[in-house]
Point group: none
Chain length 188, copies 4
Amino acid sequence: MARARSPEKRAAILEGAVLEIAENGLGAATAKIAQRAGVAEGTLFTYFANKEELLNELYLELKGEVYARVNAGFPQKASLERRAQHVWTTYLDWAIEFPMKRKASVLLNVSDVITADTRARAAIGRELVDAALTELEGRGGLKGLPAGFAAATMSAIQEAAMDFIAKYPKQRKDLTERGFLLLWRAVK
Amino acid sequence: MARARSPEKRAAILEGAVLEIAENGLGAATAKIAQRAGVAEGTLFTYFANKEELLNELYLELKGEVYARVNAGFPQKASLERRAQHVWTTYLDWAIEFPMKRKASVLLNVSDVITADTRARAAIGRELVDAALTELEGRGGLKGLPAGFAAATMSAIQEAAMDFIAKYPKQRKDLTERGFLLLWRAVK
Amino acid sequence: MARARSPEKRAAILEGAVLEIAENGLGAATAKIAQRAGVAEGTLFTYFANKEELLNELYLELKGEVYARVNAGFPQKASLERRAQHVWTTYLDWAIEFPMKRKASVLLNVSDVITADTRARAAIGRELVDAALTELEGRGGLKGLPAGFAAATMSAIQEAAMDFIAKYPKQRKDLTERGFLLLWRAVK
Amino acid sequence: MARARSPEKRAAILEGAVLEIAENGLGAATAKIAQRAGVAEGTLFTYFANKEELLNELYLELKGEVYARVNAGFPQKASLERRAQHVWTTYLDWAIEFPMKRKASVLLNVSDVITADTRARAAIGRELVDAALTELEGRGGLKGLPAGFAAATMSAIQEAAMDFIAKYPKQRKDLTERGFLLLWRAVK
DNA sequence: GATGAATGAGGTTTCATTCAT
DNA sequence: TATGAATGAAACCTCATTCAT
């Protein structure tokens, strides 16, 4: 059952999953994941009913981690631009700091193992971000477009920016700032 | 002479691969792919040495198909904006028309089975697009950023746009146009 | 603790391998071997990483079994002739008693799956035999010939003797004795 | 059918089989054999009904080749010792000259694909050898032992000798001569 | 709860043989 | 006759999951 005795072990398994998935894709073997986590093959299944659940939980964990970062220090009273920039920068920093997590996150995202329910649950914790992005969507460039388009666009440009930051780490600061400018010009 | 290798059969296998991958991810079974293509399990391996080669060939095929479309009717003499818009629209149309191909393309793209060599070979046929995008990179929004950033940004925004067009097909025209405007404002 | 790996199961797999190989050669299917051993196909691979390892381990097992027999009751203080005869007789008896093992052993021997390392490791446990045969090589018939030639010659004549004993089991005793006489006259 | 149009092609296939079998054992793929022979996969089956027949034919070919050599220049009127030595030397020379053929021959010999009928047919052409060996069997060391034991013993010692000649080619002459002496002392 | 041996379905790939060309 | 594409059974091996310990 999913009643975890040791949160450390649970975390270790998720961590192992990140590494294995980043290296071998979603086809990563549960046995390898367990091994990386330093637990027995069977132990994995006392923390997660099956592989699918593990992947969905991992998705939630990764999203949750990012949102927690974004929410901490969120400049709630600042201008829309400052708030948007906070979201932009925080996520970019996280992705650069944890490239494996980002890789796993991307793979989970495009796969079909993540259920609609999981995606919905991942939205919780994203209220502040959503509020800012919704405000953005009332603006010039995005007015009239479907809800969520701003978020999608931002995240899309971020993916591009991240790939380049990964390739040219020295230009990280520049790419982060100029990337946001690009976005801002697009949507403002 | 013995029977000649049939381009139709090769195409059928690639087509089967697209469908299976779109439904089941890159873990799609070669046996299922062969079945979809209407050939025997073993036949797949007379056309592709192994699954990895099949996936790499499929990648080339999909990229090639898109570039062929883009190149056909490319307004070489037109303004940069018109050329950029041509690229934008053509790719978007292709992706909307063949959602399975797009899905497979995305999965291949983020996976690690596509070799650097294959990615390099895929670049052939993209000269016109590259020329336009390179010109774009000399412009205001992107000046000084690494080469390829324009292409990445465009493709990133396109991915976002496509997701929404898939969800709201009725707004296709609007999303296509407004999406490009977004991009254009960002980079000009 | 989980279930411990069972030496009985390991032995059963090796036993199954002997039978299958004796009947079908080294091409014997791992599935058939597992079936003979009364375990699941997959179980075989928890005991041996792959078929090659299984074959190498089997080789060691068979050699080890013979040497154990030879060493038990080895007349260490007796004359060279008596010691040589002990080796001769013991091996011959083993081969007659376990024709399947001998068959498997022969096939493994001439195949290329047995690594140099395995062959080297098999030498351990053969010290007594080697000592006797080395002493033999200092004698008339073999003096000046490369080390190991005595062993090779003995084993060669034994192979011949065994084939005949297999064909004429009633003359077993006579063939065993006369065969040794042959050898002895050759090398003394 | 086995009605060969081109003896050259047939020979090429057998030659290819020798090389492939020497390298990969009897599991050698017919396609690879055909490739080595410079003919198409299917062509192999116009010369040999199936793989089993190919292997049996190859066995006959190899045995035939050796016996042809032995018979050519057979000192029919010479002493038994000289005749035995002729057999000994000729075979050893052949095996040293064509190590691949010898390897294939050994593998075929210990396998079960060679039918009793094939083995019987291989005996044709061995009359001179058999006559000499039969005479040998009437002698001291072998008297009373089953027919064929002399041949088996000789061939057994030869195998040992060959292994060593292969390892120490410089001692070839010495090993050939001393090996025969060994045999001769054993049986005379 | 933790462990890892056991399982067997399923995956990729090979291969002898057939047969259209 | 020669060719090599086509076939599908069968080979080796992996893996998610179960369960005895």
